[in-house]
């Protein structure tokens, strides 16, 4: 960016250079469209298998780094920063990427936004009982998030923000004050958790003053087990999970709600 600025300060020939510079920049901003299968075939004929493998590995690395911070990956960024000149064989590269994630890491790359083509990685493996109890330190943010998700779930999917703030206050986590562990609590909940797609924070229309509500985000829907949340609630309140009949059905969709019949789906 600063280079453009410097060029614009000088005269004449630099003007042309600037135009071609900005053209070059625009080129990579051209929205990416999936190549046809014949284009892919032609593209594959021009590169070695090793090159394709290498590109796929770079994509895997890129996605893993992004996912470390739980930032969803945009296809446009992937193409611009990693795929680059190999965009005509994009489908083949992604096929291998998905395979690698699945076979080597037990992870699944899921598209959470089909319009903007945004992906997140989710864990496909069952957690190992004997090992998870050995965890050194559990991230406190996870605990906080779990509480919030539980409240939203028990309230059948949407909760006015006021209720969340009150619940947290009862746990001595006051969104109005700087917290020793979480820092700016409001920012953590409404910004970080939302960006990571664990929560959704949406305006409630026609509210004066403006009120927002919390819902589960796409990542939570994919990663968090509703039966587990209900089980946790059961332990907390010393009740059977089934005693919350509506929430129990929310957690076990294969049981079906009374009404339009649903084809039976095997439980995970």
């Amino acid at each position: 960016m600063s280079q453009r600025k410097r060029l614009s300060n000088t005269q004449g020939a630099s003007q042309n250079k600037r135009r071609s510079d900005s053209l070059a920049e625009d080129d990579s901003e051209v929205p990416f469209t999936q190549p046809s299968s014949s284009q892919v075939q032609r593209g594959l004929a021009r590169v070695s298998n090793a090159q394709v493998e290498q590109k796929a590995a770079e994509v895997v690395q890129y996605i893993m780094v992004k996912d470390q911070k739980k930032i969803p990956v945009r296809r446009a960024d992937l193409v611009k920063h990693v795929i680059k000149d190999y965009r005509n064989i994009y489908p083949e590269i992604m096929k291998r990427v998905l395979q690698t994630f699945s076979q080597v890491f037990g992870l699944e790359l899921v598209e959470i936004d089909t319009k903007a083509h945004v992906y997140i990685l989710i864990n496909k493996l069952e957690p190992h009982e004997a090992l998870t109890t050995n965890q050194g330190s559990v991230n406190p943010k996870t605990g906080l998030l779990w509480v919030i998700l539980s409240v939203i779930f028990m309230k059948r999917g949407a909760v006015k923000e006021g209720l969340i703030w009150n619940t947290l206050k009862k746990l001595r986590v006051d969104p109005g004050e700087r917290h020793e562990v979480f820092g700016d609590v409001k920012k953590l909940v409404t910004d970080e958790f939302v960006r990571q797609r664990y929560l959704e924070y949406v305006r409630i229309p026609h509210t004066e003053p403006l009120e927002c509500e919390f819902r589960w985000g796409q990542r939570a829907e994919l990663e968090v087990s509703k039966p587990q949340i209900l089980h946790f609630m059961g332990q907390l309140h010393e009740r059977e999970p089934q005693s919350w009949s509506q929430q129990y059905r929310d957690a076990h969709p294969s049981l079906g709600a009374p009404g339009p019949s649903q084809p039976s789906r095997s439980q995970r």
Binding site: E53, A57, Q61, Q68, Q103, V104, F105, H128
Partner: protein, 230 residues
């Protein structure tokens, strides 16, 4: 391994058995390293490897999932600011040049005064050092800092390169040695890891240096209790 980054041999064996059980494959305990070699073959393209190393404290073997792409401390750059990395580098400098791989917390904190990048207050430096311990790059025991097992396994190539002239290998196991004992004889000066000393000299009435045969003057530590599963 991705969530823990470091497991000891026993945990690794348990994990291996669990994998075998889930896929209904007979588990041969001795084949753990072969199993890991197979995984490493797949990880290589992504510049990742599971590497094995010994703890300088308890002598046990550990497995760490390591990023091979970074050849410098910059592997930590997503978690630490520039001046924090400088603090870590300088802490490592001190530890490497120390006699027995340990430095006092006072010495570590004093580094804050000599940083070339942005200055750190002593209290801030203390926070950074605590974070480094939490993230398992450093060990802290009784007010002394040392390099953690994870740090040594992960940064071994970097350490060997950066500190080529200063770093010595353990005479017994041939890996880089920090928490160790040194032969007093001026012409010898070999280093042996504390756990390697314990194992090598176990039961010997008169411990002698394996290289120069001089009397080994240091206190021989106890062999760390290992949970053997043969």
């Amino acid at each position: 391994m991705m969530s823990n980054s470091l497991v000891d041999e026993r945990e690794a064996s348990t994990l291996y058995k669990h994998c075998c059980d889930i896929h209904k494959v007979p588990c041969v305990p001795d084949k753990l390293d072969d199993f890991i070699d197979t995984i490493n073959a797949k990880l290589q393209l992504m510049f990742m490897q599971i590497r094995k190393g010994m703890s300088e404290v308890n002598g046990r073997q550990y497995y760490a999932l390591v990023n091979m792409a970074e050849t410098d401390i910059t592997r930590m750059s997503s978690d630490y600011a520039d001046n924090e990395l400088e603090l870590f580098r300088k802490t490592m400098d001190l530890i490497v040049s120390s006699e027995n791989g340990k430095i006092s917390s006072t010495d570590a904190l004093n580094i804050a005064d000599s940083l070339m990048t942005k200055r750190l207050k002593k209290s801030e430096a203390e926070q950074v050092l605590n974070r480094l311990v939490q993230d398992k790059w450093l060990n802290e025991k009784r007010g002394e800092f040392s390099l953690s097992t994870k740090c040594i396994i992960e940064m071994e190539p970097y350490i060997r390169r950066m500190y080529e002239d200063q770093v010595k290998l353990c005479h017994i196991c041939h890996n880089i040695a920090f928490q160790s004992q040194i032969c007093d004889s001026p012409t010898c000066g070999i280093k042996i890891h504390n756990p390697c000393v314990a194992r090598y000299f176990k039961g010997r009435v008169e411990p002698r240096c394996p290289a120069c045969d001089e009397f080994w003057p240091h206190e021989i530590p106890e062999v760390p209790r290992s949970i053997s599963r043969r």
